[in-house]
Amino acid sequence: MKQGVIAKVSGPLVVAEGVPDAKMFDVVRVGHEKLIGEIIELEGDLASIQIYEETAGLKPGDPVESTGAPLSVELGPGLIAAIYDGIQRPLELIQTQWGPFIRRGAELPALDRQRRWHFKPAVKRGDLVSPGDIIGTVQETPLVEHRIMVPPGLAGTVEEIKEGEFTVTEPVCLVRTAEGLRELTLMQRWPVRKARPYREKLAPKEPLSTGQRVIDALFPIAKGGTACVPGPFGSGKTVIQHQLLKWADAEIVVFVGCGERGNEMTDVLIELPELEDPRTGEKLLKRSVLIANTSNMPVAAREASVYTGITIAEYFRDMGYSVALLADSTSRWAEAMREISGRLEEMPGEEGYPAYLGSRIADFYARAGRVICLGRPEREGALSVIGSVSPPGGDLSEPVTQNTLRVVKVFWSLEDKLANRRHFPAINWLTSYSLYAEALEPYYLERVGREWLDLRREAMRLLQVEAELEEIVRLVGVEALSPSDRLALETARSIREDFLMQSAFDEVDAYTSLEKQLRMLKLIIRFHELGREAIARGAPIEQILELPIREAIAQAKFIPEGQSERFAQLEREMEGQFEELSKERVAG
């Protein structure tokens, strides 16, 4: 077979000449160890290749051959609970084969070739099938029914369909197409840089509930929506992403650890098999897929990792699931792009990032959405995408943050000022926003009630008022405020400390259902209403603020789920205490 040869090696970039049939984005094998790379630029006879592995020792003259296919992932049963590197190599198998350090040149299939899955057909001989049609199912985990679909671009009549135990490479279905007979297996492949097709995109209308109060109540994200979490180091991006990985009510969650810490992946690997999904009671690992390309793993594979993740996520969306893709951190992906671009000696744009940074970011988030999937039975899937951003020095004017804000609809702004005060999640309530609030209103009205919207609005209003009052306090001291302003300040503080602050590490506090969020907020806002009435009746503000119910409000976050009678009781106690207060006034 004819081969090309290496002309130049510079870090993760190799330039090769004379590679037969070189096409953009095709995967090539480089050197005697057959390292995996991808063609990212073609110029005349020269192909620039980014290598997904350590390149030490590669020499000019070493062989390069093209596989003729673009970088693709394997999609089929076995994805759930797996942990892969940036180009979908299974890290568990790599450990078994090579021990605790990652050697290069590893070539292992992403999906287990030996394991057999029970396949139940959903079509029969003679049925007409087209792309996206579900031909059968595999119960992959107690939480995930893996729906086997006709791959995009293939249509015809079912000649044969089997039921039984199969590996991912054995044919389960025979389809007569215009080009002849085609075998379908439980597995398909898809190039990662190309969005998977769907029938139609729809506007998001349902919230992705996350169990995180500041998010669900103030800055919700929709199923099929996009959000970003920018913040300086240590402000809590990873903790938020891990909270979503654990508690978001998506049916499938794909987590991409992109250029971040190894220990953070270990943390997830230890916790997920233990934690239970609050909705199904099953272990959370049974719905998760993990991609880990940590900061010390090859930089080109880091660049690919977000695409690997989102393609797997789209595949589950196509089955009709609500999927969440979490990328921590997209800045590391952008930096990988910058590094490769620098080696290609491309014209640098802002801060050395390539000029196409903005369009790559936009294309990535555009893969989110609520869609009508291809194929029958007709179904709806949703892919929500949430990316962390790590701005240098916490400065949000930098290119990655700016280009991300241009395309995402939710902005959770993390601040180190809040983190330093140990106000977690350190999401700034004044600068963050969600552009879904309006689109989600009908859902809340129907499912939760108007009360929720009113409480939310009032909470936001009080937080605004607080910011204004604080200015005054800074100048003249708190004593100068009117009693009702002082009450507003105290209520706002209660909203912050008793509602927005949420510990990710407390068993009860870590997750709060929408119902409990409503009850909690109601307590706080009701206190404010009653307090205002009491002030109007002449009660001294000090006495209002000393009511024992305030301590109970502060502890409300630790009331376990499903105890609404406890909240009702607290509401009654509160009314009672205020009544006492006015009685005392009358008596005194």
């Binding site: 002309a7 130049k8 090696v9 510079s10 870090g11 330039v15 350590e54 390149t55 030490a56 020792g57 590669l58 020499k59 000019p60 942990i83 890290l91 568990e92 790599i94 450990q95 021990g99 605790p100 350090f101 990652i102 050697r103 300086p232 180091f233 240590g234 650890g257 250029g259 810490r261 190894g262 220990n263 992946m265 270990t266 943390d267 690997l269 230890i270 880990a292 940590t294 900061s295 010390n296 930089v299 590391r332 930096e335 990988a336 910058r338 590094e339 620098g342 640098p348 801060e351 050395g352 240098p392 020095g393 916490g394 400065d395 330093n420 005060r421 140990r422 001291g477 590490f505 502060a554």
Partner: protein, 470 residues
């Protein structure tokens, strides 16, 4: 037989271009023999057909374009490692500098290292007692963590590092441990301080030191953390030792990287540092940790001086993005004469929660930690307010907090350089300080712990703050 080349085409700063080469691999180790017989070393940064770009570790001075011989060694930079390295002092590139014999290696390993498979890591959770209250009490360190000190020029970070090296231990365990120390571009006095301190305390026998001084080749510093960690990995993962790695000063390391990058005319990133600084630093810091099924561990204490005390400078910034927390030093406390001058509020050990509590430190630890932290934060707020509005404008409670902040700095933060406080003592001091506050303020500690640990107030002579409170 290696080929020798006499074809150096260009030397610019730490970069050399050799032409008409054959069979040269990327990242390969290079030897350059000067006309006087001196041997220098370098590494291939780029190879383009028959042209190799080489980074010179020991600088270019004395290098003659036409008479220097270049040999490509066909392997990457390796370090011969052995248990005999304990007790020895080496150059920043791994050559003996203590007059002792060459090491007879048990094996030779690439200094570049290989990434630890995230699947193979074990989560750090074992409490390391450093005997320093701010660390043990508020920012607890665990085995396998990487926790940097962000310092500034003239602050006593080296004394703190030496104190940690002297005192660090895991409670109730007799295990083999070692210190691997990497100095990059520090002064002779600073380096000598460490060596002497380790020798005086007898710790030198279980230490390996790699030292590159300020007046020694800059580019050699690029190697230093790598030889340090290669040694540490050998001791930890093949000799079952718990290794504490101290790297000082990472700022000098990053400067060296910048110098090479500039010489290569790469597109600079922020403030002239190369765009790959994050990835490069990660390739050092991520070599800390624990591995499933291995006894040993690597705990890293990188130290860096923040240029102009600016924490948004790329070196501290990118370090913070990689490490598992950070410890800041405060110039203000240093001026006040407080040692160790930790700037408590922005300090954080991200792994602390896994290392504290019953069975590890003490049941009340988490509560005490949170209460002390928030009380000190409030105290500092009050201090600031008092500066603007005057002390007269403070409420009674505010004054108590002001007093608390003062006492906290004097008694909790402040301690002797040779004072090794057990964790119980640190927590007890914490409770003594909490006793300054009204009981109703102690919302973050459990009732039962208050009963058990809060010192009972005695009748005689209420201190000033208590009179104010009434």
């Amino acid at each position: 037989m290696q080929k020798e080349y006499l074809t150096i085409a260009e030397v610019a700063g730490p970069i050399m271009v050799v032409e008409a080469v054959r069979d040269v691999g990327y990242a390969e180790l290079v030897e350059i023999e000067l006309p006087n017989g001196e041997i220098r070393r370098g590494q291939v940064l780029e190879v383009d057909r028959d042209k190799a770009v080489v980074q010179l570790f020991e600088g270019a001075s004395g290098l003659n374009l036409y008479k220097s011989r270049v040999r490509f060694l066909g392997r990457v930079m390796e370090l011969g490692v052995s248990s005999d390295m304990l007790g020895r002092v080496f150059s920043g590139a791994g050559r003996p500098r203590d007059g002792g014999p060459e090491i007879i290696p048990e094996k030779r390993v690439s200094v570049l290292g290989e990434p630890i498979n995230p699947y193979s890591r074990d989560y750090p959770s074992e409490f390391i007692q450093t005997g320093i209250s701010v660390i043990d009490g508020l920012n607890t360190l665990v085995r396998g963590q990487k926790l940097p000190i962000f310092s500034g020029a003239g602050l006593p970070h080296h004394r703190i590092a030496a104190q940690i090296a002297r005192q660090a231990k895991v409670l109730g365990k007799e295990e083999q441990f070692a210190i691997v120390f990497g100095a990059m571009g520090i002064t002779f006095e600073e380096a000598d301080f460490f060596v002497t301190d380790l020798r005086n305390t007898g710790a030198l026998e279980r230490a390996v030191l790699f030292i590159n001084l300020a007046d020694e080749p800059v580019v050699e510093r690029i190697l230093t953390p790598r030889v340090v960690l290669t040694t540490a990995e050998f001791l930890a993962f093949e000799k079952d030792m718990h290794v504490l790695v101290i790297l000082i000063d990472m700022t000098n390391y990053a400067e060296a990287l910048r110098e090479v990058s500039a010489a290569r005319k790469e597109v600079p990133g922020r403030r002239g540092y190369p765009g790959y600084l994050y990835t490069d630093l990660a390739s050092i810091y991520e070599r800390a940790g624990r591995i499933k099924g291995k006894k040993g561990s690597i705990t890293q204490f990188p130290i860096l001086t923040m240029p102009q005390d600016d924490k948004t400078h790329p070196i501290p910034d990118l370090t913070g993005y990689i490490t598992e927390g950070q410890l800041f030093l405060s110039r203000e406390l240093h001026r006040k004469g407080i040692y160790p001058p930790f700037d408590v509020l922005p300090c954080l050990s991200r792994l602390k929660d896994k290392g504290i509590g019953e069975g590890k430190t003490r049941e009340d630890h988490a509560g005490v930690l949170n209460q002390l932290y928030s009380a000190y934060a409030r105290g500092l707020d009050v201090r600031e307010m008092a500066e603007i509005l005057g002390e007269a404008a403070l409420s009674k409670l505010d004054r108590i907090y002001l007093e608390f902040a003062e006492e906290f700095e004097q008694r909790f933060i402040q301690q002797g350089e040779y004072e090794d406080r057990p964790i119980e003592q640190t927590l007890d001091i914490g409770w003594e300080l909490l006793a300054l506050l009204p009981r109703s303020e102690l919302k973050r500690v459990k009732e039962e712990h208050i009963e058990k640990y809060l010192p009972k107030k005695e009748a005689p002579a209420p201190p000033r703050w208590a009179r104010l409170a009434r």
